[in-house]
Assembly symmetry: C2
Homo-oligomer: 196 residues x 2
DNA sequence: AGAGAATGTTGTCACTGTCAACATTGCAAT
DNA sequence: ATTGCAATGTTGACAGTGACAACATTCTCT
């Protein structure tokens, strides 16, 4: 018996960090405070995350993997024979995921993250981009914006879905634009990105 | 004669801060370091920004005001009789401004900003949203997505333009999606948001 | 000329991330 | 089963940081 070794400190730190980000933002993230909350010495987290930025990178890498999974699930709700409707559902899936995971999503949207991206994060991101690119390519072969370059379409789709999600999850823009968030609203917005 | 009073410390701090953000990100922002760079005591900036977050809020408020100006300028390049083309130019204007002001834009995209938004920032943001909303309303009266709610359209337009800009200005996404940025590319992307 | 506001300085405090040296535990090879 | 090593956790230290209070200088307005 011993509580010398926490057993699952790495995950505990990540979960606590996400909670802190959700409550007070990335700015408020403190490794020492997290350690104290978990009843562990102030330097313990360093065994799992050499630097604070590594923790952020891990959170964002996980988040992109989850988002990818979620978007794929939404995509599968449409038959393969409806590639354009599938795009629409993927956009919806992105927005809904962001609304249900505001803390993680805000970590993803932090511009600083790109500065300390490790290989795992890059790989998560590549996979996400690939999933979107594939779906776009499929849709194009069925007539969706046929004469537009794949790169342009990818930037548009990723940017629009994430940007719209950012607006919807941002408290400030929310208070300025101020609108009630319902499933109907999300569907209507997704229809603007990719008409169903 | 005296260099006791700097004379324009407030603006100097803002400019230096933007330079730091551009070079090393918001995370690297340090009031003490900025003070040292400007040859001023470590507590001098506090006379102009009570807290670090106030500096960020001021930078972002300025940035939205500039963006609004820039978007309006782009809008005026189209005649009033072409409200849809005007929307397209406004989207282009947003993207170009972001590409030319990466540091400021990344500050705007920082999700933490919404936590310490002061009245000035909210006002800047309201004005920006109003300009977009007006242009959208005008376009709708000329047939652009006539049967879509104004709120939905506003969220879509703001989200898509900012999201696409975020993708284009983000080094990480840039390295993953990896595409050469040209004026032609920007035009093509803006056409996806609002067909010219 | 002088008073009060604005601006800058100095000193201090608690807190933070990071590192190095050390302690404990888990595990795998023997 | 023992032992040796890697993984994990602890303690202590250091420089940097934001924020505050008390004080100094300068500007502005009358």
């Amino acid at each position: 018996m011993s509580n010398y070794h926490h057993g699952n400190l790495r995950n505990a730190v990540i979960e606590r960090a996400i909670a802190v980000i959700g409550a007070d933002g990335v700015e408020a993230l403190s490794l020492r405070k997290i350690a104290k909350d978990l009843g562990v010495s102030h330097a313990a987290p360093a065994r799992h995350f050499k630097a604070k930025s590594d923790l952020l990178a891990a959170i964002v890498a996980d988040a992109y993997a989850e988002l990818t999974k979620s978007v794929l699930a939404a995509s599968n709700a449409a038959g393969k024979s409806q590639p354009i409707r599938r795009l629409n559902l993927m956009a919806q899936g992105t927005i809904f995921w962001a609304l249900e995971n505001k803390a993680k999503f805000s970590a993803m949207m932090n511009p600083d993250v790109s500065r300390f991206a490790d290989e795992q994060l890059k790989s998560s991101l590549r996979e996400f981009a690939q999933v979107i690119a594939d779906a776009l390519s499929d849709a194009q072969q069925h007539g969706f914006r046929k004469n537009v370059s794949g790169e342009v379409l990818l930037i548009y789709a990723v940017g629009a879905a994430q940007g719209v999600s950012a607006v919807l999850t941002d408290d400030l823009l929310g208070s300025v634009i101020g609108v009630e968030q319902t499933a109907t609203l999300v569907e209507a917005i997704a229809d603007q990105i990719v008409p169903a």
